[in-house]
């Protein structure tokens, strides 16, 4: 079965979506990530969407679900590399990805995850879980 690879780097899981995902592939990624967070005891998930030419409500919902599930499993999710045209379209579509943290680059996203692991959440808010 077709799958999007998930890489483990220390306590983080890294995903780079390089294909135009059909809906089932998106659901598989959501399931795989949830299982891997537990199996690998991951504390953070970084999803690179810089290759995605569109994010529609289905993919947007998948991203929101991954962020919510990882939070419940004591991991943080950060989405990096959204294209400007995708951001403009997403907001006009009515989707603002509430609860999903974003960064412009992989470097900045990793920084955010490391900062959140150190205790703060990188946005200057208190993290109630630790």
């Amino acid at each position: 079965m077709e799958r999007i690879p998930i890489l483990k780097m220390n306590e983080f899981l890294l995903v780079s979506i390089q294909v135009d995902m059909h809906d089932r592939l998106a659901m598989t990624l959501q399931d795989d990530l949830t299982h891997r967070i537990v199996r690998d005891r991951a504390r953070g998930v970084l999803i690179d969407i810089s290759s995605l030419e569109i994010v529609d409500s289905f993919i947007g919902r998948m991203i929101g679900n991954i962020a919510a599930m990882s939070r419940v499993l004591d991991a943080e999710t950060v989405v990096v590399g959204m294209r400007p045209a995708v951001a403009i379209t997403l907001v006009e579509l009515g989707l603002s990805l509430p609860g999903v943290r974003t960064s412009l680059s992989v470097d900045k996203g990793m920084e955010l995850l490391r900062a959140s692991l150190r205790g703060g959440n990188g946005n200057g808010h208190l993290d109630a879980r630790r």
């Binding site: 135009d20 995902m21 030419e53 569109i54 400007p84 379209t89 006009e92 579509l93 009515g94």
Partner: protein, 132 residues
């Protein structure tokens, strides 16, 4: 440049194909990147609606030219159960399929023209047009 084409909208894979063909047409018509992204995203939403609510159907692509302006019209048609209350279906967040309820309302916002016809028991036709 092709002027008129019909594609099947029956499976999750068809949604990907519709996105790719609409993208190709939008590029040929000369839409900029943001315009391309908007019409492709709208097409993706409506294609999914055609499958989830209409039980599958077709999309017709037409390139338009009016008063020197180029445009792209997409017509999604299904022979599904139809929509009993169109006003409700067009409301943000209203869903019967467990999604986010942004399909119709979002596609409308991403288009310049939007038209929907639906008869209970006969099916639904949604037409969107984007002008350059």
């Amino acid at each position: 440049m092709p002027g008129d084409e019909k594609l099947p909208v029956r499976s999750s894979h068809d949604i990907v194909v519709v996105r790719q063909v609409v993208r190709t047409w939008a590029v040929e018509i000369g839409f900029n990147l943001v315009e391309q992204t908007k019409i492709v995203t709208a097409a993706s939403e409506l294609a999914r609606n055609t499958i989830d609510h209409g039980g599958g159907g077709t999309v017709r692509l037409q390139s338009l030219s009016y008063g020197g302006r180029a445009g792209l019209r997409l017509t999604f048609e299904d022979k599904g159960p139809g929509i009993p209350d169109l006003n409700l279906a067009l409301k943000d967040g209203y869903t019967t399929a467990g999604g986010l309820g942004l399909g119709l309302s979002g596609a409308k916002r991403l288009s310049n023209e939007f038209d929907i016809e639906s008869r209970p028991g006969e099916g639904t036709r949604v037409t969107i047009t984007r002008w350059k």
